[in-house]
């Protein structure tokens, strides 16, 4: 019995502590180093942040280069797919165009009415010029983090918590800023919780991601009257995001109040970052 225990001990020591043939480090040293790295991640100090930012920028740029072949393949597949669906897409576009022309007339009237009403209540009409555009450089979705990396960071005054839009639609927020890059946490992520409001009923809720395509509305009042097709906007509560940014449409499925996003998160190449939070801080 003692001999077998000794054997196990020797085997573990041999695997962990000894440097194998052509190995420069022992496993034990590297495991300790990994634990040290995890611990250092929790420390927020300027030199460490600078180092982290540098390492991340270098890895992101290298990842962009390495991903070129994959991008080429997916671009070719997309090109092929587009050609196959050309006719049906054309028909769909004509229909959409008709609808858009109708809604444009309605929208211009609503905009006029909106600005008049805002003037009436003395609210300053904000311009949309506080948006800055960025390109998605890495969109590899992690199983544990639905996010992507954009090509602007501290160099464009990006700060943590800023809202990120696809066109005019809300898709996520900045969670990690480096000098030349930033990470966007998407609304679908398990860690994403966004204060939202429904339209037309004005019910406040929290939009929670679950790692799936459609986030859900949580923390609704008991006797709420949310219905299929209600629109969801950012509520601007707690001053995190600007209010009234469109997010999606309610889709009730098996008693779960899901939100079908206006943007397809798998098809995003360019995004707008709302700098208004930084302006407020300054």
């Amino acid at each position: 019995m003692d001999t077998s225990r000794e054997d196990v001990g020797i085997a573990i020591r041999s695997a962990f502590l000894k440097r194998g043939t052509q190995q420069r480090f022992s496993l034990f040293v590297l495991v300790i180093l990994s634990i040290l790295f995890i611990f250092l991640e929790t420390i927020d100090s300027k030199p460490l942040n600078l180092l982290r930012s540098f390492v991340k920028d270098v890895v992101y740029r290298s990842a962009v280069v390495v991903s070129i072949p994959f991008e080429g393949i997916s671009n070719f597949a997309g090109f092929f797919d587009e050609h196959i669906n050309l006719h049906s897409n054309y028909k769909q576009l004509i229909e959409e165009n008709k609808k858009l022309q109708d809604s444009l007339l309605e929208e211009s009237f609503l905009q006029l009415e909106n600005s008049q009403l805002r003037k009436l209540i003395d609210e300053q009409v904000k311009s949309s010029s506080n948006l800055v555009s960025a390109r998605v450089i890495i969109d590899k979705q992690s199983p544990y983090l639905n996010s992507f990396v954009i090509n602007i960071g501290n160099n464009k005054n990006i700060k943590n918590g800023m809202s990120v839009l696809d066109g005019k639609n809300f898709i996520g927020r900045i969670v990690d800023v480096n000098y030349f890059s930033s990470r966007v946490l998407l609304v679908t992520d398990l860690n994403s919780k966004i204060p939202a409001i429904s339209n037309p009923k004005g019910i406040h809720a929290i939009l929670s991601g679950h790692g799936t395509k459609e986030p859900t509305l949580d923390y609704l009042p008991k006797n709420h009257s949310i219905e299929d097709g209600d629109l969801i906007f950012t509520s601007g509560r707690e001053g995190i995001f600007s209010p009234g940014i469109p997010i999606g449409k309610v889709k009730i499925f098996e008693d779960k109040i899901k939100v079908k996003l206006f943007s397809d998160l798998t098809q995003i190449t360019f995004v707008n970052v709302n700098l208004s939070k930084a302006e407020k801080e300054e």
């Binding site: 054997d7 085997a11 573990i12 041999s14 695997a15 962990f16 194998g20 043939t21 052509q22 190995q23 420069r24 480090f25 022992s26 496993l27 590297l30 495991v31 180093l33 990994s34 634990i35 040290l36 790295f37 995890i38 250092l40 991640e41 929790t42 982290r52 390492v55 991340k56 890895v59 992101y60 290298s62 990842a63 390495v66 991903s67 994959f70 890495i138 590899k140 979705q141 992690s142 199983p143 544990y144 983090l145 996010s147 990396v149 969670v175 990690d176 990470r183 398990l190 860690n191 790692g211």
Partner: protein
């Protein structure tokens, strides 16, 4: 001339696991996710080569590829590195205690490896305040286990082109 070409071929296939290791880490393809199933190629690659040909895949490189994976996936630095090193550690232990290497032996000992590595992954993410989808983690482990023989065959084929 033929000898030189042979030498180049040996050298190339010797460093192929290393190239593959960094390629999947940098391109973010260490976990192949089709929507229906997901397979962790990183685990299989490290487990196989640490078990069968440790001189081709240094522990330092494994650590570095883990750090790169963490950056690409946006996880706290060190989380993937630690779990990958755990895979390497179990593989190194299995190598020390095993006399005869067969697919079945490798495959069975891959079960505790996956359990241990995923446990470390889960613990590290838990302490970093990351929400984890347990069901996804479980499914990923099952499919990684199921896919092991396929990649075992492919990697064995690569090993046939190396010198020893």
């Amino acid at each position: 001339m033929a000898n030189t070409l042979k030498q180049i071929q040996y050298k190339f296939f010797d460093i192929l696991p290393l190239i593959f290791l960094f390629f999947i880490a940098l391109s973010g393809n260490s976990i192949i996710d089709t929507g229906i199933f997901s397979v962790n190629i990183h685990y299989i690659l490290i487990y196989f080569f640490v078990l069968r040909r440790p001189e081709n895949l240094g522990y330092g490189y494994i650590f570095l590829s883990g750090i790169i994976s963490d950056v690409v996936f946006g996880l706290p630095l060190g989380v993937s590195a630690l779990s990958l090193l755990m895979v390497a550690a179990v593989a190194a232990y299995v190598r020390v205690v095993t006399v005869r290497i067969t697919l079945v032996n490798d495959w069975i000992s891959f079960i505790p490896t996956l359990l241990f590595a995923n446990f470390i992954y889960f613990i590290s993410l838990y302490f970093s305040n990351f929400s984890v989808d347990y069901v996804y983690l479980f499914k990923n482990a099952i499919f990684t286990f199921a896919f092991y023989p396929i990649l075992w065959g492919m990697f064995s084929l690569i090993m046939n082109f190396t010198k020893s």
